[in-house]
Amino acid sequence: MKFSLSWLKAHLDTDASLTEITDKLTDIGLELEGLENPADALKAFRVAKVIEAGPHPNADKLQLLKVDDGSHEPWQVVCGAPNARKDMVGVFGPPGTYIPGSDFTLKPAKIRDVESFGMMCSARELELGEDHDGIIELPADAASAVGTSYADYADLDDPVIDVAITPNRQDCMGVRGIARDLAATGIGTLKALTIDAIARSGSGPDVRTDDSEGCPAFYGCTVNGLSNGASPDWMQARLKSAGQKPINALVDITNYVMLDHGRPLHVYDVAKLKGGLVARKATAGEKLTALNDKEYVLDETMTVIADDNGAHDIGGIMGGAETGSEESTTDVLIECAFFDPASIAKTGQKLMLTSDARQRFERGVDPAFLDDGIDIATALVLQLCGGSASEVTRAGTPPTEQRTVKYDPKQCATLGGIDVAPEKQKSILEALGFAVDASWQVTVPTWRRDVAGWQDLVEEVIRIIGLDSIPSTPLPRKAGVAKPTASPEQLAERKARRAAAARGLNETVTWSFISDKEAAPFGGGNWSLANPISEDLKVMRPSLLPGLIAAAQRNADRGASSIRLFEVGRRYLESTEHPTIGLVLGGENRARSWQAGSATKYDAYDAKAEVLAILEAAGAPIDKLMDFAEAGDHYHPGQSGTLRLGPKKILAAYGVLHPTVTKAMGLKGTAVAAEIFLDAIPVKRAKDHMREAFAPPALQAVTRDFAFIVDADLPASDLVRAVKGADKKLITGARLFDLFEGASVGEGKKSLAVEITLQPTEATLTEEDLKTLSDKVVANGAKLGAELRG
């Protein structure tokens, strides 16, 4: 909401400085968003007189002027304006002046070989209007003002204040409401609102409302025999300060009353109407071309104002193009109605149509201001356009019943945190228009639809007092030592994240939404936005990998040689959201080096290593994990796997990404990836600090190696598990350390060598013990078809 200082002062009697006023606005919740003085850009321009005008020696369309700006020898100015002539008074910018409308700074220049100093300016060059047909021509009596600043001469030194109005404060969507709020702070006094008596004659127009829900009240009157034209300078200046373009007096008056009092109005050209006006529900499919020249298709929930020919106004939102007032209009009907806020909001949302009127009606205009509103508008029409006004027809009844709130001044301290004397509270509320009786029954003014409970009254008091004066009060602190606040899941996620980073993975955050194309190889998305910002950000990701692959590809394009990315975030599946860690490894695993030679690439085991380390950090029982396949179609079918606790509980999937996936996303070369499903990891609930009793065994651990020939397709982990199971007590570790395939072990076979660690606890192992154990190991291997290698 923008307005000039002088406009504010038309309602507020104050000696306060501009800074005091703007600080106060912010303090009371009308946040200052901008402050501009149009005079600032025009400081250097002066009222100047053309004392000589003659032809330019080298150009037909240019003139050579001598200009007196009162401060210098007359300037020689080359001027192309057709209206420039001797003795005219205009606006001069001397050399060095910045021309705001043309965005350049004047320098002495030669124009067609003649020197020119400074410029006589057009309205457009000063951003004072659109006119660029000629230079500004001031009245002849301005000659006495030659040398004075143009901004002073034209009274442009009027700062424009821009404040943000929160959606609850419709009453401040008019300058008078802002003045009232300011007055309550004691910074000034609200001037009384005087509405001149209007001589009305003749019966009011035929207006009625058939839609008491959408339009409970419809007031109207006519003014006949007027002549429309430009509105006066004072009104134009105020409208311009509010950012409104003056159009003609009738349109300007409706805009002005809306901005001055927050009261939207509509003016119809009576000549374009047929029959009376009625507020009614639209019929389904009814069409209307609004003032913005767009056609809207209405439905039966929307309120329109119509005559015998059809709808002419989307009630309270925007008038129709056909029946608006024009320069030639002589008879008008002024509409001052009350539209239901909820109904306006719904209609506006459906039509995706916003307007100044909608903003005010949907926030709730003052239902008790219809008579004043129509009188103020009528008086202005009569004053500016002449004509004669009819009586007012009042159809329907606006909802003016007033709300009362029981208040206890102590509540200011118990909720607002500050003690304010009851008398002071009373005077603040009264200044804002509330009525307070002896028992603190508070009557809410009709323009404060937002005030419903005592909490709202506390807010009114403390915002006027100033929130800065609320003393800061420590929260009550529980006795004793602070207790841990993180849940086991949060701790697991935190540890997993830091473990990943400690292993040299870089955490990223990628969009939760991806494209359909990216989602497809991952099973597609269940959640597709109805109103995405773009096709690329449309589907809630079913996997973290598409975003990570895309990020990897961007890094590869930037020349990164080794890419190690991870993300902790959610996957969005049909029924719920799953916390997940995704990781992608691409490019070089190990860079070429003087020690190790050429660079190496990542393989599926690198992904598995990250998975195991992160799972372990997250508290998963990694010694109980089982290797399965079926990692998903986005992985290489032979170089991927899953780690599970039981056949159905998948904790992680990993592997080499399927070449078609990486290729589709533009990632060159092999990349490996993994996803760790955090919510599948069993949560360690019990927090027992005590560990099981343990003393390191006094006896030495020994190791034994076993090499087996097995079928080539036997999973190695099966053999290791079988070997380890030979004596669960004695064997504390089993590690596969050699894999060999070749002619010497036979076609379709491979050799696997396992080192087992034996930890005796009671007595040193005898040769016999070792023999027994060895036989068991071999027997367990034999169950899998493994033969001890000779």
Partner: protein, 371 residues
Amino acid sequence: MSDSEAIKEKYLGQVEAAADGDALEAIRVAALGKKGEISALLKTLGKMTPEERQSEGPKINGARQTVADAIAARKDSIETEALNAQLATEKLDMTLPPPSGPKGSIHPVSQVMDELAEIFADLGFSVATGPEIEDDWHNFTALNIPETHPARAMHDTFYFPQTDEGGMPKLLRTHTSPVQIRTMMDVAKQTDGAGEPIYIIAPGRTYRSDSDATHTPMFHQVEGLVIDKGIHMGHLKWTLETFVRAFFERDDITLRLRPSYFPFTEPSAEVDLGFTVEKGRRIIGGDPRSENGGWMEILGSGMVHPNVIRNCGLDPDVWQGFAFGCGIDRLAMLKYGMDDLRAFFDGDLRWTEHYGFDALDVPTLSGGVGA
């Protein structure tokens, strides 16, 4: 000079001159071996008279001992020399780079979330979470934003074709405030409506259909909620002061509370932090009224609206409290000096390397929450 003396001197000379272990061994055999010269002398002792033995015995034994010691000493020194010679051939260029592992990092958003959890844990707040795909009721209606409320239009909501039980389209949460609702409802349910104190923060992803230089359609917010008895705006002010001073690790941060409007709080306040410009960058802290100072809007806050408390099944005449919310990405930018929000979501490894955090930079109260 007796024989023994002369023999001793002879061998000592040879030992001194021995060049390697073999030569030394030959000397040992010649002197001390079974048939060695000194061994032979020792054998002569038995044939001597007691007087002779008394005088010759110590000399001969002394010679044997001296020669044996000399051999041992020489052996040591030959071995040392040989080892030194070998080590001298094993010299490496120690300026060569050793093998190095990859360096990982934590994203600033995660780091800041951990910092927030730490700061608020000290004040007794725990961390709560909720779904990002929300329903209309939790995101709007329960927060006192009915369907026709103008504030809805300001939320630039992303919608899904799927609807909830009430037939309203499901949506992406536009703020973390639905976590307030879910937390209060859980408490109401667990306590049969009696209620109990609630102190939570809720960090997480939020979404608005907005994209320009300073807005991304996905961003991070943190919500704070306190519900207790006798909580008022003074507590809100203290909590926010304590939080920002702990977070930015500066005591000279001034807060300005401005009355504002949020449908879910009453009274409502926006919170500005004082900043000063240092070396061309805005730094939170210092005198906002000084020449190079100013105010920056950071937080929205207020006392939880009684309708919201009631909507969650608690009695607003018993329970009262405050809520606040602010952007985590913004907090990170202000604290660590990033100037481009979009870079947060790009995954550029160069950016990550520069702005990321070491895995071991775990925020702690004792170590400081700023790494």
